[in-house]
């Protein structure tokens, strides 16, 4: 009988129509500005720079090694290394990015910069409502816009951030232990060679030994 298939289809649409009033399964729309889809932890969008502590300028983990700039497939990252050094979160002297721009109109959110970063300083953000009137300047993010705190990182990617923090804590403990050891050694040396005239040169040596600790989070 012609029409059976048509009637079956009509019944199916009627079921969906009625179902949309009773079941969330059949009414999947999310009313965007008021309602938002639940944040999925692994979600990624555009990169941002993590800083520790409260001061974005001071705590920035990035040391301007420029690996991400080199590895970025669409070449959307632009970094200018600073001339001077400044102490990072652990107090070590490091280069820092004088300029760090990401053109998110070019970025394709591939996450390769995150994978290659040896300092855990660039991570993927989840902000997606980035519409802008100016498609050139408005979508070129500068260091100030990119820098976001470690706490923020912890809220958007808790698992991943916890692992990074644990890793950092371990590294810092190691560094602290090494510094302590060095200081003890220094103290011992000072005590031992209090009368020694070459004490000054010893101290310099201890400093240089402690040098790799800051960059040793690899």
């Amino acid at each position: 009988m012609v029409g059976k298939g048509i009637i079956k289809g009509m019944v199916e649409t009627a079921r969906n129509f009625l179902g949309s009033y009773v079941s969330k399964q059949r009414l999947t729309t999310i009313q965007y500005p008021e309602e938002r889809a639940p944040q999925i932890e692994a979600a990624r969008n555009f990169p941002f720079l993590v800083f520790d502590g409260t001061d974005a300028e001071q705590g920035l983990r990035c040391v301007a090694c420029q690996i991400c700039e080199k590895e970025c497939p669409p070449k959307c990252i632009f970094i200018e290394k600073s001339k001077d050094k400044k102490p990072d979160a652990t107090g070590k002297m490091q280069f820092y990015p004088a300029t760090f721009n990401i053109d998110i109109s070019v970025c394709m959110s591939c996450q390769i910069c995150v994978e290659v970063c040896p300092f855990d300083s660039i991570k993927m953000d989840v902000v997606y409502d980035l519409s802008n009137n100016d498609r050139f300047a408005g979508l070129l993010l500068h260091k100030q816009q990119l820098a976001k705190s470690n706490e923020y990182y912890n809220t958007i990617h808790p698992t991943e951030a916890a692992a990074v923090d644990a890793h950092f804590a371990e590294e810092r403990a190691k560094a602290a232990a090494r510094v302590k050891a060095a200081a003890e050694a220094k103290l011992a040396a000072e005590a031992k060679a209090a009368t020694d005239a070459k004490a000054k040169s010893e101290t310099t040596l201890a400093d240089t030994q402690a040098q790799p600790v800051g960059g040793g989070t690899r």
Binding site: G5, T13, A43, C110, I112, V116
Partner: protein, 386 residues
């Protein structure tokens, strides 16, 4: 295909064997046309509503993919492959990863293979569901089947987002494995989605499979003969709808497909209806594979620890890696000269090669059939134009 002079759109009307030539109407369908699946143009010569000649014009979405890949690192090309067939990014990754793994001789750990199969088959599900929706949309079903398909695709895309971080551009596979392991609870969520998927298929079947209008529109329309399918190098569901028993999962035994029990549906007539139904049946087979894979997946590492992220230089040589992508045989041909970037990089896009028979399928058909036939070929312009 790379013949750039081919892009001139004019059709020589004298090549058409018909009387009353002054009554022919040349119609440019596209590039701004609602149902050309992207920016695609068909110059159609019509006699009344009958198609006398058809000339596909493409390249509007050309992005120089292959040349860019030749100046990019091996890993750097991975996210670009996402953008080939943007509906099934993971299978694109997979074909490229297989090519590079062949080139560099990298082994893939067991768990990673399982993850690849799971994500790959999920991709097949979403591709086929979307295709059927789009096909119905082309037939004018005012979006209902398409919205149902998108509703299901949404669930799969949520899974992808949970695993890889992105919904469409997953960039998930790495040479020698996968990028990340499944987060806690992901596998259960995936099992739930797969378990619910047959319900959607039943709904679809009710809605359309027995529908007389659909059968009337698709049966005996756009018939692709078995001989032409083989000669034109057609692959994937389109070839199988014409009765060509050719599925690379069975032919190449790549990855771990040997371990799963699944069948390949084959069509007889090779018309639009067969192409539509083959995809429908393939979804049911994919669900079988997914169920088996999710049952058997072992623990273990997900990536070969020897592979380097930076400074990856395969030894000089060449390799061709191919898989059965949802659209057909997707292959990547790579030549390495030992540098950081491939010396030659070439994609065998199934969409493009399946598209080559478009004119043969359309001639003599109605103009309304052209969009249906085009829809049944299942093209994604990102892959056609590259």
């Amino acid at each position: 295909m790379s013949d750039a002079t081919n892009l001139t759109a004019q059709i020589d009307i004298n090549t058409i064997p018909a009387l009353g030539k002054e009554q022919l109407l040349e119609l440019a369908m596209g590039p701004q046309h609602p149902s050309t699946h992207g920016v695609f143009r068909m110059n159609v010569v019509l006699d009344g509503e009958r198609v006398m000649k058809l000339k596909p014009v493409f390249g509007y979405l050309h992005r120089n993919h292959e040349k860019i890949a030749e100046s990019e690192t091996y890993l750097g090309s991975m996210p670009y492959t996402d953008r080939l067939d943007y509906i099934c990014s993971i299978t694109n990754n997979w074909a490229y990863a297989i090519a590079v793994e062949k080139l560099a001789g990298i082994e893939v750990p067991e768990r990673a293979e399982y993850l690849r199969v799971i994500t790959g088959e999920l991709t097949r599900l979403q591709n086929h569901a979307c295709l059927l929706g789009f096909l119905m949309q082309d037939m004018g079903a005012s979006g209902t089947p398409l919205m149902y398909a998108f509703r299901e695709r949404e669930k799969i895309m949520d899974l992808f987002e949970g695993l890889t971080g992105a919904r469409m551009m997953c960039n998930y596979l790495r040479f020698g494995g996968c990028r990340v392991d499944t987060p806690a609870g992901w596998m259960d969520a995936a099992r739930k989605v797969v378990a619910e998927f047959p319900r959607f298929l039943d709904e679809y079947e009710n809605l359309l499979v027995g529908n007389e209008i659909l059968m009337d529109r698709t049966q005996e329309v756009g018939i692709l003969s078995k001989e032409l399918a083989i000669n034109a190098g057609i692959s994937g569901p389109m070839a199988r709808a014409s009765g060509v028993d050719y599925d690379i999962r069975k032919v190449d035994h790549y990855s771990i497909y040997d371990r799963f029990n699944f069948r390949i549906p084959l069509g007889e007539r090779g018309d639009v209806y067969d192409r539509y139904m083959i995809r429908f049946l393939e979804m049911r087979e994919s669900i079988k594979i997914l169920e088996q894979a999710m049952r058997d997946i072992p623990d273990g590492p997900i990536v070969d620890p020897k592979t380097k992220i930076r400074g990856f230089r395969p030894k000089p040589g060449e390799a061709y890696g191919r898989i059965e992508s949802p659209k057909g045989e997707l292959g990547f041909y790579l030549v390495s000269d030992g540098a950081l970037n491939p010396y030659r990089y070439r994609v065998r896009p199934p969409s493009l090669i399946n598209l080559t028979v478009l004119e043969d399928l359309c001639i003599g058909q109605n103009v309304a059939d052209v969009v249906v036939i085009l829809g049944s070929i299942d093209i994604v312009l990102g892959e056609v134009d590259r």
